[in-house]
Amino acid sequence: MSISGPQRSFLDPQVLSRLSSIPLFSRRAMVGNVSGIHSSPHRGSSVEFAEYRKYVPGDDLRRLDWRAYGRSDRYYVKEFEADTNLRCCLILDTSGSMNFGSTGVTRLEYARRIAGSLAHIAIRQGDAVGLTCISDKLVRTIPPRRTPSHLRGIFDILEHAEAGGDTRLVERLHELAETIPQRAMVVLISDLFVPPAELREAFDHLRFRKHDVVVFHLLDPLELSFEFQRPMRFLDMEGGTSIFAEPNEIADRYQKALQAYLEEMKAVVLGSEVDYHRIRLDSDYEQVLQNFLAMRARTKGAR
């Protein structure tokens, strides 16, 4: 499968080529509409043995294990795992704060790369991929489909996504948790600048809906280090008040607040069983995705 259409700035064919060798697995059973590589909560006709169960009238006689009958003189039906595809819902935070980037790459641009690459990998292995851009509202949404032509639509949305507006991440996640059918892979790419306690409820909601929640938490190196050489006037990218400060004076308190936030975030994602990835914008996204896919491959099989 090739990337059709115009060249996308956020896609690198070579990176995609290298990543395509690693399949994208879900951590839990998915409910798809066609067969695929993901485990399903239902029994199916795959080659992977699941269990024996007693024959009951109505069962297909072809599925009787005659060898078992020969050994035990009892009728057993041999059941196999069902393999299905998954629905991957990419949720892209497009609030104003996503436009920040001190390394030459904005948070939104980085998010595009991750989302585009994941969409390409998923479609390529037959999974359905949908995309939702959120800020203070659902900016744009496209339901999951598995056709290659659908990929172009996703890329178009990614390309034209613009950061702006306030963040209402928690409300939008609750909304999406209800609208996305159960047992989907929900990939959230955001800076998560909301109170972690509020976020926890949204994550729990998604978990309740049996979604496999993946979070890519994008943080800029400058936000982490907070190193400035002179007094700064900080303008809120989401329209709030500006703050004048001597960074060196408040750096320790800033770090303290940041540390508390990250600790709390860590507790939230641990409690909500979210596949959480904290990512610096100066890190290589290919490496990020490679590690993400490899880890997924190692933990495949949960049903």
């Binding site: 951590r27 900080f234 540390q259």
Partner: protein
């Protein structure tokens, strides 16, 4: 505090540099669009009290460090002279050094006199100060002496101790005249004194004149008083009150009377050493109170010392060695020769009688009465008292009268009948006034001069005199007695020797009761005669500094302080000889009265002037001024260390543990 390099203080505004840099830094802010406002808001709303204090402390420490550096290179001086002028601007520094005997009292440190301490402190302190000219005025000569630097004070002759009482107003007057003549731009006057009342003469009207003169001077003068108030206690002094010879059956003998004073009443026997004619004897004196007087202690005279000689009384060393000795000289009493010049011998009979009758048996008195025309025939060299009751001397006789005056003899003029023309010593005769009932004397000087009270303290009966006829005395005069009409009865001409008197009436019954009530006339004549005779005496007791410099030029030392140079004999206690005359120079009687000018009075003397005073304190560092740049350097270093400690970045909270490439927080 003052500075040796005050120009460096112009750099003081640099201390604002850290604040300016801080403000500029504040202005150099950059604007950035920021996403993680949550943490920023949290950081700015956290308690900022310490951070703000720390920030100000750092600024303060930087400012202090720069200030310390500037002060250090300005070479500050520490002293009690808090308002010392900036030394760099001083053009002339005048040192008024009180070298009176009282300054030889030991100070707070044993073995060091006040004068030594003052010299040492001046040398140590003033050498730190830059001045274009250095001038010393000593209390003996009152003459300004320019010196190269304060370092020579130790060896400078005028700065050495002597027996002359100080005249601080006179010294200031001399300083003022020096300033008036030389017109320096900025002047400082340093006065070193022990604040004795007799030295300062605080009640004198001269102070007001001086104060006004300095206030009106074109350039400001700053006064510094280095006061040495209280010294070591336990001081004794000795003073001879009389020394005279007399003939007795066993031969000639010397009678001396002396007083021993002690600061604390102590009952003891004091060995008074008498040095006479090369021999030394000891007179034990039983001290009972603060003052013990030995009267007419007889010492037989033998050999060559029969008629005249010198001696010295000394007591053991104590707190002040300057008042432990007293010199005296003795000789046969001089003849008391009186010359009366009058047109009419009858009218001066009372005067003749009053002068002729000597109060002492041993003293011979002789009176000669001459007319003005015969006056030239008299032996003027032997005249102790001249009574002139005729027209004032004309040009031909004036030199004769003047010779008596110059020598120290006394002259009293009585009014002639006519002759309004002419004047003498600024005084002349006015009109006659008559009053049959008689004028009364309403006031007269009872404290000094010829009308002073008698030794017992009783006043002369001047108010009992009746003056029927008198003549006014015209001209600048010092009135000794004033009549109820407002005119003067007896006046003294204002001259340096204070020995010319004008009496407004005559000692005849038709003029006054001077003759009839002879006590006043006799006292006046005999007192004038005694003082006049002193000038003829071959042995004179003089107060140090009171003898004219020209007169003392030919003095030869018989005995005195070995350090005294010949040109300054008259200021040093000792026995001296000039031709046939003997002189005993001693400190004034006021030196034995340790009365101090109180601080309020002292401050009042310099009211309106820039005046500082520092008292020598017990245990105080010897130096008045001290360079303390090292202290400021230390303060600067301290400020820098504190600043560094405050500026050390607080331990940064470890940045969020984000793996640069990937961090997986939740295991699947």
């Amino acid at each position: 505090m003052s500075f040796l390099q005050p120009a460096m203080l112009w750099a003081l505004p640099i201390i604002a540099l850290p604040i300016v840099i801080h403000l500029i830094n504040q202005r150099r802010y950059r604007t950035i669009e920021w996403a993680a406002m949550t943490f920023l808001l949290a950081a700015t709303t956290m308690s900022r009290g310490y951070a703000r204090i720390r920030q100000w402390l750092i600024l303060a420490m930087r400012t202090l460090a720069i200030a310390g550096l500037i002060f250090a290179i300005s070479r500050p001086l520490a002293s009690g002279w808090l308002r010392l002028a900036a030394p760099g601007t001083v053009d002339t520094t005048i040192i008024l050094l009180d070298t009176s005997p009282s300054m030889q009292q030991q100070g707070n440190r044993a073995g060091v006199t006040k004068l030594d301490a003052a010299r040492t402190q001046l040398i140590q302190s003033l050498q730190l100060i830059h001045s274009n000219h250095w001038v010393v005025i000593d209390s003996a000569t009152l003459q300004p002496v320019e010196i190269e630097s304060p370092g020579v004070l130790d060896s400078l002759v005028p700065a050495q101790s002597n027996s002359t009482s100080a005249d601080i107003p006179g010294m200031l007057q001399s300083a003022y005249e020096y300033l008036r003549d030389n017109r320096p731009s900025q002047t400082e006057i340093w006065i070193c004194s022990d604040l004795r009342q007799n030295d300062w003469d605080a009640e004198s009207a001269r102070w007001k004149v001086l104060r006004d003169a300095f206030l009106e001077a074109p350039t400001p003068t700053r006064f510094h008083l280095l006061a040495y108030g209280d010294g070591a206690g336990g001081n004794r002094s000795i003073r001879l009150t009389s020394a005279e010879t007399r003939e007795t059956m066993s031969g000639r003998e010397l009678l001396i009377s002396f007083v021993v004073r002690q600061s604390e009443s102590e009952k003891t026997t004091l060995p008074v050493r008498l040095e006479l004619a090369g021999g030394i004897s000891e007179i034990p004196v039983e001290l009972t109170g603060k003052e013990t007087e030995l009267v007419d202690y007889a010492i037989p005279l033998e050999g060559d010392q029969l008629k005249r000689g010198w001696g010295r009384l000394t007591i053991p060393a104590d707190g002040n060695v300057a008042d432990n000795e007293f010199y005296f000289v003795f000789d046969e009493p001089p003849p008391r020769q009186t010359l009366i010049v009058s047109d009419n011998e009858d009218s001066v009979r009372s005067l003749k009688l009053a002068a002729e009758i000597s109060p002492e048996i041993n003293t011979q008195a002789a009176v000669t009465v001459l007319t003005p025309q015969q006056a030239e025939t008299a032996d003027w060299d032997q005249v102790a008292l001249l009574l002139w009751q005729a027209e004032l001397p004309d040009d031909s006789r004036r030199p004769l009268v003047q010779s008596v005056i110059d020598r120290g003899g006394r002259v009293i003029f009585f009014p002639p009948e006519g002759g309004r023309s002419g004047e003498f010593a600024g005084l002349s005769w006015g009109d006659w006034h008559e009053e049959p009932e008689g004028f009364q004397t309403v006031s007269w000087r009872q404290d000094q001069d010829v009308l002073a009270n008698v030794r017992s303290g009783e006043a002369l009966p001047v108010n009992e005199l009746g003056i029927r006829r008198y003549r006014t005395i015209e001209g600048e005069q010092s009135r000794l007695a004033t009549l109820d009409s407002g005119d003067a009865l007896l006046s003294r001409a204002i001259t340096s020797q204070r020995n010319i008197y004008f009496c407004g009436t005559r000692a005849t019954d038709d003029h006054s009761t001077l003759a009839r009530n002879g006590i006043v006339l006799y006292a006046v004549i005999q007192r004038a005669l005694a003082e006049g005779a002193e000038s003829l005496a071959a042995a004179r007791q003089v107060v140090a500094g009171s003898v004219d410099g020209v007169q003392a030029e030919r003095w030869q030392r018989l005995s005195s302080d070995e350090t005294a140079v010949s040109t300054r004999y008259r200021f040093h206690a000792g026995a001296y000889e000039e031709d046939e005359r003997l002189y005993a120079v001693n400190r004034s009687v006021e030196e034995d009265r340790p009365l101090i000018v109180d601080p309020e009075r002292m401050a009042g003397l310099f009211q309106g002037l820039q005046f500082d005073r520092v008292d020598e304190q017990i245990g105080e560092d010897n130096a008045l001024l001290r360079e303390i740049w090292a202290t400021f350097l230390f303060l600067m270093l301290l400020a820098l260390i504190v600043e560094a400690a405050l500026s050390i970045p607080r331990r940064r909270i470890a940045q969020a543990g984000v793996n640069p490439a990937f961090a997986r927080e939740v295991p699947a």
